[in-house]
């Protein structure tokens, strides 16, 4: 088979799987799992084939026009360059992992058939976006992803949080999609085609009339889809969906679509320096803000969600400095390790029975219960913190190198200011990323207190996937050199300056967090002792060996700390997880203060960061309340003004009817009188008319 045929099969297979799964889900439950896994797996294998065949050479293009569509033709076309085939491989692999993982994670879920079909449909839509060479077809995949994410985030629709989260995800991404659509039309009008190659040719020849406007419009859609500031607020809430969905949607596919789209149409954005600066500012704000917010989150999935936003900020930053290879490189490595992180978090939540990091930090031996998740999560967190030689290091370095080159004026497309902005924000975020990765690891695996509940070994379908994803997490960065052909022939090797800068920042973050965690743990242990609630027979392990010694501390010392611990307890009680994604019964999580390095690190900023810098409240003030007020006004107008007319329209005939009703006396003679009077009048009229006509 030719490469194009294979490439067509890649999105078609999961689509057929989804259709079959939806059709047969109820009638043949035994077929659901094969129908979920096999098409996705087939798509992944085919995607690898296509990638190998394409080989990083010149882009393969093919187009079929189904039907004439007037002045702007819409083609079914493929555009396979190195980025496309690599992203397709990532999507296929992650989707396969997610499907396999879901068979175990959601094995008792009654809605598993529709869930698996939707995941397949989602994968298909993403692959369509990746391979499509036509913007209209791309938009189809783009919107299908939107609706699928709505269904999947709202999978647990019994809970209010899932319902509102799915609605929020849908509305916020749609908010971006409206300007996106307008931008697409504007672009197609300027370029006279929806085909990406033709558009790129037009851009190259300078035929774009309104590059800034188009770029900014498109950027709005990208910000919505890829969860960039200020449209990122849906992503943390979208964690209300099942964990594998988070891994799929919010790590590898949907949020990647926006980045991928910009990477594909980067020349359009480069045509406008203003758009690049806006992108850089967006990326910087997103990176730093989300990293700070991630440090303050208690829900493990929300930490990962904010981390996703931050890493997407890196990619946007790379695009802002005009380096799409770096962006796609980071996209790929991030897709691998973030999928691993989410799936591992699923295992942790499964084992701990809670989403809350504070609750996990009061559990002992969680790492021993789930060794697979522990080790793979450790690897993925190291990759996230960009510690060499893991994948995250290389990809992040690629971004920083690109930013540094732009900042020092080596780039001819992107403005230097954008480079500086991305570079400074990137280094700062590297520090913060390392800090929250360390915090996550410490709080999840180094907790002490009651023993973690034992649920036996996690299923192989879940742990095996973790190890599978750990392979690219470790090796992808090292292998990047061999993949240079696919990245447009550029070596994405880190330079000394940026590696020292980035890794140094990361190490500072790790050390700082560890130190603060030790202090917080000691304080917590002291508080536990002071409140006279010694853990029976549990000698806390780990570096804070001084903790049991402080238990019989004098009351004068404990007095001030107990006040602090009371405050801490109050705060952590308020931070109970929003969605209790509990798959089986668990004992009550022990209460008490939790050692949280993020609190000390952020200081007074913690409260705001935990709330996502009150952006939701701001949106509430800015948009939700005015809309509600307008709705109230409309309702008032409808009830009081419009309905008055309606009621008046009803009352008038009613009144007349009341008058006519008076005539209904039941007296036949009066009826007959009226009838005959009318007849006489008619007769007179006829006679007069006849006379008049005869006379004239």
């Amino acid at each position: 088979m030719s490469t194009t045929t294979l490439a067509v099969l890649v999105p078609v297979l999961p689509f057929l799987g989804a259709v079959a799964g939806l059709l047969l889900g109820r009638t043949a439950p035994g077929l659901v799992r094969p129908l979920a896994i096999l098409p996705t797996l087939g798509a992944a294998v085919l995607a690898v084939f296509v990638a190998v065949r394409q080989g990083g050479g010149p882009a393969i293009e093919t187009a079929t026009e189904l039907t004439p569509t007037g002045s702007v033709p819409i083609d079914l076309s493929l555009y396979l360059d190195g980025f496309a085939v690599l992203v397709a491989v990532l999507v296929g692999v992650v989707a396969t992992c997610v499907q396999v993982y879901s068979t175990a994670y959601l094995r008792d879920d009654p809605r598993y058939p529709s869930y698996a079909a939707l995941v397949s449909l989602f994968t298909s839509a993403m692959l369509l976006v990746v391979y499509s060479g036509d913007l209209m077809v791309l938009l189809v995949g783009w919107e299908v992803m939107g609706i699928c994410s709505y269904f999947l985030v709202g999978h647990y629709w019994e809970t209010e949080a899932a319902r509102s989260a799915s609605l929020k995800a849908f509305l916020v991404t749609k908010l971006g999609d409206v300007p996106f659509l307008i931008g697409l039309f504007a672009l197609a009008t300027d370029a006279d085609s929806f085909q990406i190659t033709k558009i790129l040719r037009t851009v190259a020849s300078g035929g774009l009339d309104h590059p800034t406007l188009i770029a900014l419009l498109l950027l709005a859609g990208v910000a919505g889809k890829s969860a960039q500031f200020p449209l990122h607020t849906w992503l943390p809430d979208a964690m209300a969906g099942p964990t594998p969905v988070s891994a799929l949607i919010h790590a590898a596919t949907m949020v990647a679509a926006g980045i991928y789209f910009v990477a594909r149409l980067l020349p359009v954005f480069e045509a406008s320096r203003a758009a690049l600066v806006v992108m850089a500012v967006m990326a910087a704000v997103t990176m730093v803000g989300s990293a700070l917010a991630a440090l303050a989150q208690d829900d493990i999935k929300r930490v990962l969600a904010y981390s996703t936003i931050g890493q997407l900020g890196y990619m946007t930053g790379a695009l802002a400095v005009g380096d799409r290879a770096a962006a796609v490189f980071h996209l790929l490595s991030h897709g691998a390790f973030k999928a691993l992180l989410f799936l591992g978090a699923g295992v942790i939540i499964h084992a701990a029975g809670t989403n809350s990091l504070a609750a996990m930090s009061r559990m002992d031996g969680l790492a021993k219960r789930i060794p697979d998740a522990f080790w793979t999560m450790t690897i993925a967190l190291l990759a996230l913190a960009a510690i060499p030689p893991f994948a995250g290091f290389f990809s992040k370095e690629a971004v920083l190198v690109a930013a540094e080159q732009t900042a020092t004026g080596h780039s001819d497309t992107a403005p230097g200011a954008a480079g500086w902005l991305v570079l400074v924000a990137g280094v700062l975020t590297a520090l913060l990323t390392a800090a929250y990765a360390t915090r996550l690891w410490l709080m999840a695996f180094r907790g002490r207190g009651a023993a973690a509940p034992d649920h036996g070994r996690e299923p192989v379908a879940m742990t095996g996937v973790l190890w599978l994803l750990a392979v690219p997490t470790v090796g992808f960065g090292l292998a990047a050199g061999t993949l240079a052909d696919w990245f447009g022939g550029r070596e994405l090797t880190p330079t000394v300056a940026t590696s020292v800068l980035g890794t140094g920042a990361a190490l500072i973050g790790i050390v700082l967090t560890y130190g603060l965690w030790q202090r917080a743990a000691a304080q917590a242990a002291a508080a536990v002792g002071a409140t006279a609630a010694p853990a029976p027979g549990k000698a806390p392990a780990g570096p804070a060996t001084g903790a049991p010694g402080t238990a019989p501390a004098p009351a004068s010392v404990a007095a001030e700390e107990s006040a602090e611990s009371a405050a801490l307890a109050a705060v952590s009680a308020a931070e109970t997880p929003e969605v209790a994604e509990v798959t089986h019964d668990h004992p009550a999580v022990p209460a008490g203060p939790a050692p949280d390095p993020g609190r000390a690190l952020l200081g007074p900023l913690h409260r705001h960061a935990a709330d996502g810098f009150h952006l939701d409240a701001v949106y509430d003030r800015l948009f939700v309340r005015p809309v509600r007020a307008a709705a109230t006004l409309v309702r008032f107008l409808d009830r009081e003004v419009v309905d008055t007319y309606v009621r008046g329209a009803g009352a008038g005939p009613r009144l007349l009817g009341g008058l006519v009703r008076r005539a209904q006396t039941g007296n036949v003679q009066s009826y007959l009188s009226a009838l005959l009077a009318g007849a006489v009048v008619l007769a007179i009229a006829t006679a007069v008319l006849a006379n008049v006509n005869a006379g004239s």
């Binding site: 007296n667 003679q669 009066s670 009188s673 005959l676 009077a677 006489v680 007179i684 006379n691």
Partner: protein, 203 residues
Amino acid sequence: MSIATAPLAPLAAAGHGFLSPTGVEIAFVLVGLATLGAALVTVTTKQLVHAALWLVVALGGIAVEYLLLTAEFIAWVQVLIYLGSVVVLLLFGLMLTKAPIGRSPDADSGNRWVALGVAGLAGATLVWVVVDAFRATWIDLDGPAQGSTKVTGEILFQHWVLPFEALSVLLLAALIGAIVLSRRNTAAEEAADAAARTGKGQR
């Protein structure tokens, strides 16, 4: 009564005035006035039985008019059927409904003034139209009698046989209908009901 006749009398007088009256015409007008007067009394008197009797006068007057118009067979039919049977039926009806003998003050309904208006208007319109239309039209009463029994019999049984027979069926239907309607709910019906019930019990 006076109100009803007031607008009509001048019209009749006017119609009478500008023509050169023949003997037949004078007789027709006189009989017509008597007929009209009797009819007016019929619809205005407060004694119900008197109304029926004045109706006899009015209908008889019309029979005379038929004679004056040389339609003698119809005149006799008029006398036979109307005077002989219809009025008798009406009198029976008055008796059966226990109509009060003597003056009953509520013989006219509250609709009287409206009725007067409508009737007056209708009459005025009709008279105006008729006079306007037939101002210069004359009936030739000479020659053979057009309504003799022989002539009527011939045309009735030569040209109008089928309607005549259909009319007989109609009369039969009316006869049966009148019987069914005026029959009392007697013991016979209850016996029929009882028979139906026993029939059901046997089954």
